[in-house]
């Protein structure tokens, strides 16, 4: 039996570790490009950067199945990308082009994608939690072994919807993983300035659900914790709560002069950068290859450049279509005339009482 010293971290699977690194890098580089494009007025509106928090989105997504549901917030570029929404579709959405994942209707804060069961960037703090509870309720009623991962920041903890939703999920034993991304600031308001009790897990556990904090700057720790929670939830263990302790390196949005936090604090957190930390760990474990890194950097840069070309080449939705999808459209035949249908068009998810096999799931997605 091999004795491990206390300091030594467990050995990593090389392929998986490099996958994690690559996924975090994709988010970092996509968002760095967003800043440039915002400055160039290609992207408008509000843009909330995730830089510094990449380990959370990447780690959590590893633990989820294709049939699981994701509910995210307005700081969701990373989640969408890590979930499998293409960089092209995300970039085109930020450009407001029809080829975007929400047809250009939502922009940065409202990425949606039915194919990956990505139920939106919700821009009302706390507004996504009840939706997640409902998605999980539908799964439970239908007997589907799915999990709903609900992301929100620590700012949402102050909202009534947080408490109502955690209570309902626990009361009904619903399959939700509540993923609290605690980056310490609700816009400019520090947690200690908005909460009488700053221990978020203590609040969550008061609803009789398992809750624990994890280092949100460590992608492996994030993945392990989420996997543990998702496995328990999938087995019928009811909702679980994880607090990912993380930090955003950039401003809240593009209009934020950051008067509310010390530069030193930011610099301190930057020493815990999830990407450089994983690089260091790979080096320590002799899994590092400089040329692999250069190759991945080049591939990611290529992917992002390609997404910009895709967005640039995208079309603006015709103004004549402004009012489309205020209400559902009846399905039309190939000639474009309305079909006489008795029932509404199917929702992306159909009712199925039989647990599906993984291969069937993958096929459907």
């Amino acid at each position: 039996m091999v004795q491990r010293t206390k300091k030594k971290q467990p050995a990593m699977d090389r392929v998986h570790a490099w996958h994690l690194l690559r996924e975090m890098l994709r988010i970092r580089r996509l968002e760095e490009k967003c800043v440039e494009l915002y400055t160039a007025a290609k992207i408008r509106g509000f843009v909330h950067l995730y830089i510094g928090e990449e380990a959370v989105a990447v780690g959590t997504m590893q633990a989820l199945e294709p049939e699981d549901n994701i509910v995210a917030t307005y700081r969701e570029h990373g989640h969408a990308l890590a979930r499998g929404v293409s960089a092209n579709a995300i970039m085109a959405e930020m450009y407001g082009k029809m080829e975007g994942c929400s047809r250009g209707r939502g922009g940065s804060m409202h990425l949606f994608d039915a194919a990956t069961r990505f139920y939106g960037g919700n821009a009302i703090v706390g507004g996504g939690l009840p939706l997640a509870v409902g998605l999980a309720l539908a799964d439970k009623i239908a007997g589907r072994p799915q999990v709903t991962a609900c992301f929100f920041g620590e700012g949402a903890v102050a909202e009534g919807e947080f408490h109502e939703s955690l209570n309902l999920a626990a009361l009904w034993n619903l399959p939700v993983v509540f993923c609290c991304e605690n980056n310490l600031y609700a816009m400019g308001t520090a947690l200690s300035r908005s909460e009488s009790e700053t221990d978020i897990c203590l609040k969550a556990s008061s609803f009789e659900m398992p809750a624990w904090p994890v280092d949100g700057m460590d992608v492996v720790a994030v993945e392990n914790a989420t996997r543990r929670a998702a496995t328990a939830v999938r087995a019928g263990g009811g909702p679980h709560f994880i607090e990912y302790r993380t930090y955003r390196f950039r401003a809240h949005s593009m209009y934020d002069p950051e008067l509310y936090r010390d530069k030193q604090e930011v610099e301190l957190w930057k020493t815990r950068d999830p990407i450089s930390n994983l690089v260091e760990r790979l080096k320590q474990q002799n899994l590092w290859q400089e040329e692999d890194w250069r190759r991945i950097e080049a591939e990611v840069a290529g992917e992002i450049e390609q997404s910009i070309e895709f967005a640039e080449a995208g079309k603006w939705e015709p103004v004549e279509e402004l009012t489309r999808f205020v209400y559902s459209e009846a399905p039309t035949d190939v000639q474009g005339s309305k079909l006489n249908v008795q029932s509404p068009r199917p929702t992306p998810c159909t009712l199925n009482r039989e647990p599906r096999t993984k291969s069937a799931r993958l096929q459907r997605i």
Partner: protein
Amino acid sequence: MSTEKIKTTYREAIRAAIRDAMLRDERVFLMGEDVGRYGGCFAVSKGLLDEFGPERIRDTPLSESAFVGAGIGAAMGGARPIVEIMTVNFSLLALDQIVNNAATLLHMSGGQFNVPLVIRMTTGAGRQLAAQHSHSLEGWYAHIPGIKVLTPATLEDARGMLWTALEDPDPVLIFENGMLYNMEGEMAADAGAVDISKAAIRRAGKHISLITYGGTLFKTLQAAEELARDGIDAEVVDLRTLRPLDTATIVDSVTRTHRAVIVDEGWKSGSISAEIMARIMENAFYELDAPVARVCSAEVPMPYPKHLEDAAIPQVTGIVAMARRVVTGHD
């Protein structure tokens, strides 16, 4: 439709509609405060728990925002929830979910996520429940694109609108006026789903159009009978649906009668009655022989004592007086 009639009440008609929907579609479930063991705050769902069990007749905590939002999520997840909110005043605690989520998700997601959700709630005054249980805010909801707003007044509509709403792929709000629950009458034994896209002419007439919906329909019909004794033949239009509003039926009626009074238990300012007047102006201005008038609630929070509550909401005498003034040009 068979000619066989049954005696029923508005409450029983809604219960029959819920029961029928539950039997027809296993995806349908009812969720709300005290819908199960208590039998519904207004006894609408009484007995359904025994028949369908607690999974499908689901009592919720007092968490309007969470259970309305859960209804939205469940609808997106393939279920067909009927969410009951005790009163329209309580629905304000769920306004975020209704307005920011239910109404926006389809458009904002570029057509990807529709929300086939039905929300039922009580509206209206008349039961001395004062200012936090008695308001008529359905007109407010009719302001919001992305949702549909139904206001059944008759037994047939109470029985028939729910299934049509459940078949709709988008969120539908159904407002049940609390004064109607005990209304008794006869209805075809096999009454079923009804169209929700058209207003109905409940009484044909030549001299004036009285346009109303929900709780004030029967006061307006009674007013029309009194007007008939004076030789004024009033047409009564029941809007049935406040969004989308059936402008064509309103305009057709006014084009025939050349006069209109709108009767609404909502307030006047920024209201559905104001919207109807605007549509008449836009579409039938040159048909009018007199300015369009309104009988609405006094602009006060609803008071508790009977005499003040009566004074605050539209009454038959007020409707008769206003219609007479519009037709004759004097009181």
